[in-house]
């Protein structure tokens, strides 16, 4: 088998594939090595029960950069994003509140609960959208190093400054507040009704080891509305054929540009000789050589597992050990033999096709976090149940349904360690939560896959099963991501790079990390840039 390439990318997650695709497009001879026997990492579609296709990790899509979608011609490679809408938060009173994409409908829905809050939704959406539009400028750019005097960094700082100032002075102050405060405090400034707040607060804790009232969660909320589907900012969609369709499409583009992928090829170590990366050693002992080695693994795994202590600076090892990559999420993927009944919603109500959430107060959201703090999974968990197959018939046969349940919070470690029994008990907690609102749900279950951070880590390799490859807190964002001084995708040794969600702009199926990293690599090789540099808002 060929053992010499221009570049090797470790990990066939969507960012690794994107990175490789652009390196190949830039003219390099590229190999992607993947430990599993399938590609896609956490963006996969797998038939875990005959006749049902599971998006068993990531399950919805919004952050995928449009410019990359177009530039790599992913549609031709089979990718179709299906927008979905209608999220219902059930209340224990039998009532509910729903999120509609249409502003007029949203207004009427919120007005059922509070006229004052209905009026506030306009202000809320305007403010949030303003911040989203600002952030979007930086997604496909390499963060400036604020400690450097290089023209390039100063220029990038200028660019940032301009965009900030462009919001108008008042908004600069508001944005500084927003970035540092909690989602709860932020929402308290707009809304009075607990159910309304809860509906908006749910995005602020997804994948995050913080509570709705922890400072910094307002940004996490923004992180979940800064994406778009075909330019509709804040909208979410599903990849037709499951999330694997995204990975497969990018892989298609990669292969078209001449890149190769090897599965069942777990990397043991990045080989470093005289201070530069020269290739990788697979677990079998086989060595593959390249002048460029890119890690799509999370920063902790990259610098504490597949790189040797002696090959990296001591302070970097410490930084990697201190890196916050906390497991706080679980996943329960379910094959149903019929449509679940939700009595709160009249039969045939369009919302029945949407996704469901089951917490009705900020206190219940916060208490779910308190359980996690004490090393337990939430007894009264936040569950986001997405009925994927309602929007994508390719996932299950007619009459059958696939639903994906995302859960906060589930700790990476429980007392005495995770066992299959504990895992299933966690799964039952989730099903119980759903059954509180859907009496017939349990008898429809044909098969279910319960994943705690333990399963996610062991299968996909995300440390602690953290879905973002690292907490999205200010100390790990922008020029701090993954570590101060390493935010420009370059590793500690020549020829070694990072391209995972542990780098800027962070988690989510965005392809931005992989693309930005490829741009930096091509730059170092003095090759013309082939990576899109901006978004398509303007």
């Amino acid at each position: 088998m060929k053992n010499r390439y221009d570049a090797i990318v470790i990990g066939a997650g969507h960012n690794g594939l994107t990175n490789a695709a652009y390196l190949a497009k830039g003219g390099l001879d590229v190999l992607v090595v993947e430990k599993n026997d399938y590609i896609g990492g956490a963006a996969v579609s797998r038939e875990l029960h005959e006749g049902w296709l599971y998006s068993n990790c990531s399950y919805v899509c919004s952050l995928l950069r449009q410019s990359i979608h177009r530039d790599l011609d992913l549609t031709r490679h089979g990718l179709m994003i299906v927008p979905y809408s209608g999220t219902t938060n059930f209340s224990r009173t039998g009532d509910y509140i729903a999120e509609y994409p249409d502003h007029a409908m949203q207004y009427r829905e919120v007005r059922r609960h509070s006229l004052r809050d209905a009026d506030a939704t306009h202000r809320y959406n305007t403010d949030l959208m303003r911040y989203a539009r600002l952030i979007r400028h930086f997604l496909l750019r390499t963060p400036a190093d604020p400690t450097s005097f290089r023209p390039r960094d100063l220029g990038e700082l200028m660019f940032m400054g301009k965009k900030f100032a462009g919001m108008g002075e008042e908004q600069v102050y508001e944005f500084i507040r927003f970035m540092t405060m909690s989602a709860g405090d932020f929402l308290d400034e707009y809304f009075e009704n607990d159910l309304v707040k809860t509906m908006y607060a749910t995005s602020s804790i997804i994948g995050t080891a913080l509570g709705v009232y922890s400072p910094g969660t307002a940004y996490v909320l923004l992180h979940h509305v800064m994406g778009d589907v075909d330019g509709a900012v804040g909208a979410w969609g599903l990849a037709r054929g499951g999330m694997g369709a995204i990975s497969n499409a990018i892989a298609g583009a990669l292969r078209e540009h001449g890149g190769e992928i090897r599965t069942n090829a777990p990397v043991q170590q990045i080989i470093v000789r005289n201070g530069r990366a020269v290739g990788v050693a697979l677990e079998g002992g086989e060595e593959i050589h390249a002048d460029i080695v890119v890690s799509n693994l999370d920063p902790k795994r990259t610098f504490t597992v597949i790189m040797d202590r002696k090959d990296i600076p001591g302070d970097l090892r410490k930084k990697a050990e201190n890196f916050k990559i906390r497991g706080s999420s679980g996943k329960v993927n379910i094959a149903l033999t019929g449509a679940p009944d939700f009595p709160s919603l009249p039969a045939g109500h369009p919302l029945r096709h949407g996704s469901f959430q089951f917490l009705d107060s900020m206190e219940r959201m916060e208490r779910a976090y308190d359980d996690w703090k004490h090393g337990r999974w939430s007894e009264d968990p936040f569950v986001e149940m997405t009925q994927s197959s309602m929007w994508d018939p390719t996932l299950a046969a007619p009459g059958n349904y696939f639903v994906s349940c995302f859960i906060q919070y589930c700790p990476a470690e429980v007392e005495g360690g995770w066992t299959p029994q504990k895992r299933d008990a966690f799964g039952e907690t989730v099903i119980d939560q759903i059954c509180n609102y859907s009496p017939n749900f349990r008898e429809l279950i044909a098969h279910m896959e319960v994943r705690t951070p333990y399963e996610i880590e062991n299968e996909i390799g995300l440390t602690e099963g953290n879905i973002f490859q690292g907490e999205l807190t200010i100390d790990q964002l922008m020029f701090n991501r993954p570590f101060p001084g390493y935010s420009q995708y370059r590793g500690p040794v020549k020829g070694m790079y990072m391209c995972g969600s542990g780098t800027h702009p962070g988690g989510g199926v965005s392809s931005a990390c992989g693309a930005n990293s490829a741009r930096e690599i091509l730059r170092d090789l003095r090759r013309p840039n082939v990576v899109p540099e901006d978004d398509v808002d303007e």
Binding site: P146, T147, E169, E170, V172, Y173, I176, R177, F178, T180, M181, D185, D188, E189, L210, Y213, S214, P215, G216, N322, K324, E363, E366, R367, D370, K373, T473, I474, D475, F479, N480, F483, P484, G485
Partner: protein
Amino acid sequence: MSKSPDIIIIGGGHNGLVCAAYLAKAGRRVLVLEAASQVGGLGATREFAPGFRASVAHTLPQLSRKLVADLALEHHGFTLAAQALPTVALSRNGQHLHVADGRLHGGSAADSAAYLDYARLMKKFAEAINPFWHKEPPVPGSGKFRDIATLGQFGWKLRTLGRTDMRELMRMIALPAQDLMDEYFDSPLLKAALSWDANVGSKLAPRSPNNALIALLYRMSGDLTGGLPMATGGTGGLMEALAASARGHGAEIRTGSRVARVIVEKGEAVGVALEDGEIIRAGKTVSNADPKTSFFKLLGARHLDIQFTHRIKRLRTDGYVAKLHLALGELPAFTGLERPEARLILAPTMAYIENAYDEAKYGGYARELPMEVLLPSLHDPGLAPAGQHVLSAQVQYAPYAVKGGWDAHRDSFLETALDNLQRYAPGIRDCVLASELLTPADLEQQFGVSGGHWHHGEFALDNWWMNRPTYGASQYRTPVPGFYLCGAGAHPGGGIMGAAGSNAARAILEEK
């Protein structure tokens, strides 16, 4: 005062007095109106039981020599009863950790070494940021040279930390106390004690991001960068000296004069109306009260635009610290401690603090309450009758809006606090002759501070510097000409520091 004053200062808290003293020193005719019967606000020393005296604010970590010198406070009777109290992380089994003169005593070799690195870095950060506590926050959009210069100076200070430390500062500023401590230390007891200053006084706990470092550096803003001095006569001793200094420079201070409202004519503040109906006119009116009180109770929202009032209304002002004063018949014996002369932190782990916070989040309070305990009478015998003692403690977390109201809970909270003390000082209950518990609700009611919040508004990154209390009032001037802020709600915040008062005075003197 025969002639009407140039400047009226509403509230004789320490910032009001500092502001008055500087203005009077500069030759302005100043009148301070204090509602209470004595000056000093939360810094006043009050008799809470016959012969026993204590002040709500009990130490002076942020006191600066410059203030003392500028206002000749020593000449006016200010002395220190204690220079720099050490901090003791109290353990129930007597294995205490002492943090004194920049070193850790009684800890593991690793922790002791780590503490030196930690202290060095923190000191370096504190010194870099220090000038900015004593400066008006910049308003970048103003186009004024000074604002641009302040920002430039800030950037320059960061860069001169050196690349590595600058990067650390920009990362650590967002770390929760827990992560910060975990990065440096092993001992749970030490971590808990060192995390105390990062959260005390705010609705935050060791796991809360974006606040710890800035709060720690703020408490290191005094000359002793973190050391804890105590004034003779309690903090009230300092208040008396400030008042004397202000009077010495010609200011008039009237106690027992509660201001009902600020008089606004043609959109300008022209004086105040007292509750007894008296009208006093002055060219400038300065409020030492918290922003909510200043703008809503004293000024009136009708004089402000709706955006601005919204920004004041949204300030988080619920206090979470209760103050406990005990009159002790004799010196209590703390397990494994010879003399409780230091500042004692009662919190075995950071989780212990976090759990207490969790209860408070939902309007309750924990059975196990972290505390900061001081026995001021050991350093200043005058605070208690001979041979007897005063115990002064900050107790977290006591939510301002406790479910059911404080009248229903005050007694059981006091009992809970005593139970906690009993665990560290068995038999202390038998020494208690009298007690005073000041919940946030009491502080609001007795001192007129919204929510009973020490800082007049949460001290956190989102309410800091140019965002304190909010833009449009962050430079001590307000949207209403002639009306100014000089209290803890303005930059830099609470704590007996006087920076808000002196910064405000400087801003006012610049006005014609």
